[in-house]
C-alpha cells in the first residue's frame, strides 16, 4: 500500500489544524453558516436530515487493517457504533457532532486518511476496480495510476472551483468492475495491436438527472501521457463547462452540447501545451509510487483441508461458490464479504464487524482490504487454506451471507432515512426485497442480478445501470418508486429504460417479485441471466409482469 511521505503528512495535518480553527470560529459565532458551509464541504462535512455526516475518502477503495480499526474506533467514540460504505468506495459516519469533527479528522490523519475533496466542485476520490492487483483478468494493476491521479488532483490549485464535481474511475481489467463509463473520466488500461499497454480514455459519462454513457475521447493514450492528458481534459472543461445552470454543469453536458469532436480537438491542442510543462516529474513520481503496489509475498500452503471442508459443509460451499472470485495467484482467492445480510442496511458495518474484518485481513490477507462500489468489503489476497477459518469468523458476526452478485446484494443509497436531498427512502425497500427473496429461497436459482436503488434523481445508488433500477420519488407527498430495466454497469454499459408508472411503497416489493418470477418463466435455462433474457426478449414481457392488469395490450402513458 502507498505510505504517506513527509509532504502528504504535513499537508493533511495542516488541513486538520485549519479546519479545527474554522470549526472553533463557527461555534463562537465569528463565522456565519454562509462562510462556513464551503469550508466544511471542502472537508467532507455535510448537514443531513438528523445530524451532520462526515464522508471520509478511501483512496481507490484500498485500506489496511489499521485504517479499518480506526474506523471502528471513530464509530465507537464519536458516532453510533457503525459506518456506512458508499458507492464511491468511501465511508460515511452518520452522527458526528460538529465539536467532535476536528478530533475525528485528527484520528484519521493518524492512519493517513482524510475527508478532503469528498465534496465540492473539485476532483473527487478516484475510484477503481475493487479486485485491482488480484484479479486474474487484469492487464495491469491500476492503483499506481490511481495514486498518481490522487496526488495530482489533491489540492490542485487550478481545479478547486470547477463548474461542478468531477469523478475519475480507472480499471486495469477488460471486465469493468469500476463502472468507468459512468464517470466524468473513465480510464481503461488496454493493450494495443503493437502489444503496448496504455489507456483508453472515456469522457462525459455520468448518472444523475441526465444519465449518459461516456464516449471514447482517445482510444489509446501512452501511459506516460496520462497526467498531461487528464489535465488537458479538466482544463478544457473548466473553461467550457457551464456555470450558469448547475444541472447543465457536468462535463457530460459539455460533451453533449459541444460534441465529442469539438471537445477532443480542444483537449488535444491543450494536451500538446501541457505535456511540455510536465517535464517527466510525473514519471519520477510514478516510479516512486509503484513499489508500494508490488504483489504481496504469496505463501504456499496445503489446501487439502479446504477441499475436504468444501465437500463436507454445504453452507461453506455455497459461500465459496457465491462470494469468491478467481485470483491470479494459484492457490489464492479473492473474498467478497457481503455487507448485505438479508434485512440489513446495505453497506453498513458495525465497529465489531470492522474489527473482525481488520483482524482477518491482518492474519490471513496480507493486510489488505477493499471497499467495493457495490458496498461490500473485499479481502483481495487470501490463500484457500485459510478460507474455512475466515468463513467461521465472519459467520460469528453476521458477515457470511452467501449472496454476492445475487438479487439481495442490493446497492442502496442512504435515501430519506439520512440524506437531506432525498425524495423517498431507499433502505427499507432494499431490506424488504432482500428479506422477501430470502423467504422465497429463490435467489441462487435466479442467479446474477443487479438491483440498485436511489432515493432521488441524483442516482448515488446507480439505479440507471442496475439490471433492475428503482428510483424513489415524492409524488404529491407520497413515496413512489419508479422501475427501470435493462441497465448495465459493466464494459457493456447501458442506461436502463423506465418500465412505466411508479409503485407505492407497499406495491414495489411485490412488483419486483413478479418481475423476477417472470424472468424464471421466460429464460431459456439457468445459463441465461436476467439481463441476457431481457436483451433477447425486450422490455414487453417484463412490463407485462409488472403491470398485469394492463397486459391486454393497452399502452402505458410512459
Amino acid at each position: 500500500m502507498y505510505k504517506y511521505n513527509d509532504f502528504d503528512e504535513a499537508f493533511v495535518r495542516e488541513r486538520v489544524a485549519q479546519f479545527s480553527g474554522q470549526v472553533a470560529r463557527r461555534i463562537d459565532g465569528s463565522l456565519s453558516e454562509d462562510e462556513f458551509r464551503p469550508l466544511r464541504l471542502m472537508n467532507g462535512l455535510y448537514l443531513q436530515l438528523h445530524a451532520y455526516m462526515l464522508r471520509v475518502a478511501v483512496p481507490y477503495g484500498t485500506l489496511n487493517s489499521r485504517q479499518m480499526r480506526q474506523f471502528a474506533h471513530i464509530a465507537d467514540t464519536y458516532d453510533k457504533g457503525y459506518g456506512h460504505f458508499t458507492t464511491r468506495q468511501n465511508i460515511q459516519f452518520n452522527w458526528p457532532k460538529l465539536r467532535d469533527v476536528p478530533a475525528i479528522l485528527s484520528d484519521l490523519a493518524d492512519v493517513e486518511m482524510h475527508a478532503i475533496q469528498t465534496s465540492g466542485n473539485t476532483i473527487r476520490n478516484v475510484t477503481s476496480d475493487h479486485f485491482a492487483g488480484a484479479a486474474a483478468d487484469e492487464i495491469e494493476d491500476p492503483r499506481p495510476y490511481a495514486e498518481l491521479i490522487r496526488q495530482w488532483s489533491t489540492d490542485h490549485p487550478e481545479f478547486q472551483f470547477l463548474p461542478r464535481k468531477f469523478k475519475v474511475a480507472i480499471t486495469g481489467a477488460p471486465n469493468d468492475r469500476a463502472v468507468v463509463k459512468a464517470h466524468d473520466i473513465g480510464l481503461r488500461i488496454v493493450r494495443n495491436d503493437a502489444g503496448q499497454v496504455g489507456f483508453e480514455v472515456i469522457v462525459g459519462g455520468g448518472l444523475g438527472r441526465t444519465p449518459m454513457v461516456g464516449k471514447v475521447i482517445r482510444d489509446f493514450l501512452p501511459k506516460e501521457d496520462l497526467l498531461p492528458y487528464l489535465e488537458a481534459i479538466v482544463s478544457v472543461y473548466n473553461l467550457l463547462g457551464r456555470r450558469d445552470n448547475k444541472y447543465k454543469a457536468r462535463i457530460k453536458i459539455t460533451v453533449h452540447e459541444n460534441g465529442i469532436e469539438t471537445v477532443r480537438d480542444l483537449v488535444e491542442a491543450e494536451f500538446i501545451q501541457r505535456r511540455e510543462l510536465f517535464n517527466g516529474a510525473d514519471q519520477a513520481l510514478l516510479a516512486e509510487i509503484e513499489p508500494a503496489f508490488a504483489q504481496p509475498d504469496y505463501i504456499t500452503a496445503d489446501s487439502q483441508g479446504f477441499d475436504d471442508f468444501y465437500k463436507a459443509d454445504p453452507v461453506f460451499r455455497s459461500w465459496v461458490d457465491t462470494n469468491l472470485t478467481e485470483h491470479r495467484q494459484p492457490g489464492y482467492a479473492i473474498v467478497t464479504i457481503s455487507l448485505k445480510a438479508h434485512g440489513a442496511t446495505p453497506g453498513d458495518a458495525t465497529s465489531e464487524q470492522m474489527r473482525v474484518m481488520a483482524d482477518l485481513a491482518q492474519e490471513f490477507g496480507h493486510d489488505e482490504l477493499r471497499v467495493s462500489h457495490e458496498q461490500n468489503i473485499v479481502l483481495p489476497h487470501v490463500h484457500k487454506a485459510h478460507l474455512p477459518a475466515i468463513h467461521a469468523r465472519l459467520a460469528a458476526v453476521g458477515l457470511a451471507t452467501a449472496n454476492v452478485g445475487l438479487v439481495s446484494d442490493i446497492i442502496a443509497c442512504p435515501g430519506m432515512d439520512y440524506c437531506a436531498l432525498a425524495t423517498a427512502r431507499s433502505i427499507p425497500i432494499a431490506q424488504q426485497i432482500a428479506e422477501r427473496f430470502d423467504e422465497l429461497k429463490l435467489e441462487h436459482e435466479v442467479g446474477p442480478l443487479k438491483l440498485k436503488i436511489s432515493g432521488c434523481i441524483n442516482a448515488c445508488g446507480h439505479h440507471h445501470v442496475g439490471h433492475i433500477g428503482i428510483l424513489g420519488l415524492d409524488r404529491a407527498g407520497v413515496e413512489n418508486y419508479q422501475i427501470t430495466l435493462g441497465g448495465d454497469a459493466t464494459e457493456n454499459a447501458a442506461i436502463g429504460e423506465r418500465a412505466g408508472p411508479g409503485f407505492s411503497a407497499d406495491a414495489i416489493v411485490p412488483a419486483i417479485e413478479r418481475l423476477v418470477l417472470a424472468y424464471l418463466e421466460l429464460r431459456e435455462g439457468p445459463q441465461e441471466t436476467f439481463i441476457d433474457a431481457y436483451r433477447r426478449l425486450g422490455a414487453e414481457p417484463f412490463k407485462a409482469a409488472l403491470y398485469p392488469d394492463e397486459a391486454g395490450g393497452r399502452k402505458h402513458a410512459a
Binding site: I27, L49, H50, K80, Y418, I427, D474
Partner: protein, 100 residues
C-alpha cells in the same frame, strides 16, 4: 382572494448536534415538534422565519414547514418532516429513542 394559509412551523438543524429543532412560541429552539409554535398566518410566519434566520449561531438552515394541529401540538403533514421528528427507519436512533 386570499387562499387558505397552510399552518407552518419554523424548523432548522441545531448548529452543534445537527439534529432537527423547531421554534417555540416563546422563542426557544425545542427538540420535539409538538412543542413548536403552530403559525396560522403568513405575516407571522415571515416574522418568525426572520427571527430564526437571525440565530445562525444556534441553528442552521431555518425554513417554514407545513404542519397541522394535533392532539399534543403541531404535527407534520409531509413524510419528510415526519422522518425529521423521528429519525431513520433502519435503526432505533435519533428522536424516536431520545424522546422524553
Amino acid at each position: 382572494m386570499s387562499r387558505r394559509f397552510t399552518p407552518k412551523v419554523v424548523t432548522a438543524n441545531d448548529l452543534i448536534e445537527g439534529d432537527a429543532v423547531w421554534l417555540s412560541a416563546d422563542d426557544r429552539w425545542v427538540r420535539q415538534m409538538c412543542e413548536a409554535e403552530l403559525i396560522e398566518d403568513a405575516e407571522r410566519a415571515e416574522a418568525r422565519l426572520k427571527l430564526a434566520e437571525g440565530q445562525g449561531d444556534i441553528v442552521v438552515g431555518a425554513y417554514l414547514a407545513d404542519a397541522q394541529a394535533g392532539e399534543n401540538g403541531p404535527e407534520p403533514t409531509h413524510f419528510r418532516e415526519t422522518f425529521r421528528t423521528r429519525g431513520p427507519s433502519n435503526y432505533a436512533h435519533g428522536k424516536q429513542v431520545e424522546a422524553a
